[in-house]
Symmetry: C2
Subunit: 449 residues, 2 copies
């Protein structure tokens, strides 16, 4: 009997365990912890001059192997930060302890993005050792603020554009759409996050001694949040969908042709039923439609008070040519138009705003990626999917470096990214290493633009 | 120059500081902490056989001084538990450290209910020392679960009804309505607390990777909570006000005659404007109308997830003959009738349900209390007010002991009960001691029923 981990290169598991053990949660970890994660990665890139470089936030890890004159240059992007653990009671294993559990590895960041990055480093180190050279020039840029919207990456990349120059960015972040077949993501949704802040009295009031005489900010917030969608699931904010094209019949047909089972999807997420914008299939909602989701509410607690403040945390995923600034304006105007006596309401948008991104299906890099996947997954169709999540770096690389980004991650979208009990399929590690090698070989000969 | 604390009996401040330092938060403190608070109180009642007695929850403190044969017996009620501190960053002093700040004392529980109880103990001990006897028989029942709805008090009181027998209960809990004149509360509102629990998927989902395809429990909760009130501030739940009489013109006139300034009240709470049920004055809303307040929401956090669960914490304050069970049924039926696709919604009511309570204004105990206050506050009118908060023990004492409860607290309603920066006016301590003594003398001669 063979264990799933037998397929892994020697030392890989121990390495990943060390890396996962560094709790590099960019929302709460101190600088020292984030730096430790960066130093750890830089050390594994010693063969390419791996180093930690300062930004105005958490540092980035940089490395360059430029021993293939005349060949294209690719920039490998990924991140070393992870999401907060959230409620620890919902985890079945310790979040920062790598656990082998049958066919999967468990731990915070194991699939987003520590495992998918580490497999590239391992592949490149091995390839260099075996062949004495890589087939193309490779730069690495691994950041520590992806999960908080990459606030300092734009300034860093623009200031170092010359040193980061590349023909193509390959992102080790992102995810295959599902475990049943290989896929390449040709688009990712944009992101705007904002807080709706409702304030009432100067301090929390006893709900008995003051109840009924002052507006309750939680009631007002509920009214605001309930107004953001229509009963049939559409976003009810005027102007929100500006820049979103009507779904072309051809794209609708392509999506309808994908083997997708609503009931299977429903059962996988464990929801009583699926629900979304009327007039679209589940997959069309996921890939082609913008969304507005309330990610949480911070308001009072289980005490007998009228909280003086209630905050709704909202994020919007954007598609097409939706302008993030316009989306914020539209929501602000919608909220301002509501009649909410007795409270003050404010919309506070996060500065990290990302438009949607797209690479054309016939781009040479997409073709090379399809071929590489076809080699690793023989006989399986390679789907062109959409990352309904957001990879803020893509539009930055396009504007600052003039380079398109190819998503080439061996995470899978169902591996509980950002949620408790995050995991990574062990088989994807070996598959990913072989696919990255095949991709580089193809890009070296077939071009990147 | 004299300090406000000069008026206090020797040792009182040090005693109260010791008592406040025990963090007897009945929502979160361990049994050992609660027991320490109970033992501390029992020791200060040694002259009356003070002792700690077990219940199925946190213990009660009991004591009896029965040296006045033929005189009435009163049962003094209060509590040693306190509310949670809430957000510590909103406190200007350490919550469990008694701080003298000009004319007030600060600390969690200082006004609810540690100070108001301690002043009765101090008065009684002093009176006994000075006179050699009290004018009537006194029992004490000080509980540790008032702030969580007294879940184990009913069973305890019913099981010990004979030992607790009294002609009148006097509550050291409650509060004077405001600092500007003495007042007696002749009624208190009932309480029903419940959670609205909305669940969607089996676990939190990434808001990008799943957004738009499943119902978001936070959206559904917002829809539920927004539906509970009409735009003009009335509770929109059918059947909620069953048992609430139309406000009689005479009571409306009495309330209108009270010197009450809306703008002053608004400024004191620091709200941008007052707001409440249409058709009632602020004071009528506070004293005579039932309320439904959302005290907080537990849902997700500031992460990019669709939370799988969202919970609204709701409490209702009841008046008149509103039946707590019927109120729960009415809210459950209201919620069940909403169309909320893709989620499950459940109403979970807390077991501790309290109907409204009232003592007649011409009850002998109310008359005695008015006279006692008139003696301590000469020349000031004594208002008959309503405690818009809830004192769960009152209806229990009526049913189990056949005794009415007189509220006689020297807390004031503006002293940030249940909120950060709780305080107690120092002058109320001496006033309270004199008033309690005057009350006992009057009850001893004038009767209690
Ligand atoms: Zn990621
Ligand atoms: Zn109290």
């Amino acid at each position: 009997m063979t264990a799933a981990t037998d397929s892994l290169p020697p030392g890989f598991l121990a390495d990943l365990a060390e890396y996962v053990a560094i709790p590099s949660d960019s929302r709460s970890a101190p600088m020292a912890t984030m730096r430790a994660a960066a130093e750890w990665l830089a050390a594994r890139l010693d063969w390419a001059g791996g180093r930690v470089e300062e930004t105005d936030g958490f540092p980035v890890v940089r490395a360059d192997w430029l021993g293939a004159p005349g060949a294209p240059t690719v920039l490998v992007y990924g991140h070393y930060d992870v999401q907060p653990t959230g409620d620890l009671t919902e985890w079945h294993t310790a979040p920062f302890e790598l656990v082998v559990d049958g066919d999967v590895l468990r731990g915070r960041g194991v699939t987003d993005d520590k495992g998918p990055v580490l497999l590239v480093l391992e592949m490149a180190r091995t390839m260099l050792a075996e062949r004495g050279a890589l087939p193309l020039n490779v730069r690495f840029l691994l950041e520590g603020e992806e999960e908080i919207g990459s606030p300092h990456l734009p300034a860093y990349v623009r200031a170092h554009a010359a040193e980061l120059a590349a023909d193509l960015v390959i992102s080790a972040d992102g995810a295959m759409w599902r475990p049943t077949e290989p896929s390449i993501s040709i688009a990712s949704k944009g992101l705007v996050a904002l807080d709706v802040v409702v304030t009432g009295a100067a301090e929390d009031l006893h709900s008995g001694r003051y109840g009924g005489t002052v507006a309750n900010p939680v009631h007002a917030l509920a009214t605001v949040l309930a107004s953001l969608h229509t009963a049939d699931g559409a976003v009810a904010v005027a102007g929100f969908t500006d820049g979103v094209d009507k779904l072309p019949p051809q794209r609708r047909a392509e999506i309808d042709a994908v083997d997708f089972d609503d009931e299977e999807y429903r059962a996988a997420v464990g929801a009583p039923e699926l629900f979304g914008e009327a007039g679209y299939s589940t997959l069309a909602r996921l890939w082609e439609r913008p969304t507005l989701e309330v990610n949480g509410i911070t308001a009072g607690g289980k005490y007998t008070v009228i909280p003086h403040r209630a905050v709704g945390h909202v994020s919007c995923r954007l598609v097409g040519r939706q302008d993030p600034d316009r989306v914020v304006e539209a929501i602000s105007a919608h909220v301002a138009a509501l009649d909410l006596p007795g409270v003050r309401v404010e919309v506070r948008a996060d500065p990290g705003r990302v438009p949607a991104y797209r690479i054309e299906p016939d781009h040479p890099a997409v073709r090379a990626a399809r071929e590489a996947l076809a080699e690793v997954y023989p006989g399986q169709e390679v789907l062109l999917a959409v990352i309904a999540g957001t990879l803020p770096a893509t539009t930055l690389f396009e504007s600052a470096l003039g380079a398109k980004t190819l998503f080439f991650s061996f995470a899978t979208a169902d591996e509980k990214h950002h949620a408790p009990n995050e995991f990574l399929r062990i088989a994807r590690i070996g598959e990913g290493m072989r696919a990255w090698a095949a991709l580089w070989d193809r890009l070296a000969t077939g071009g990147t633009r």
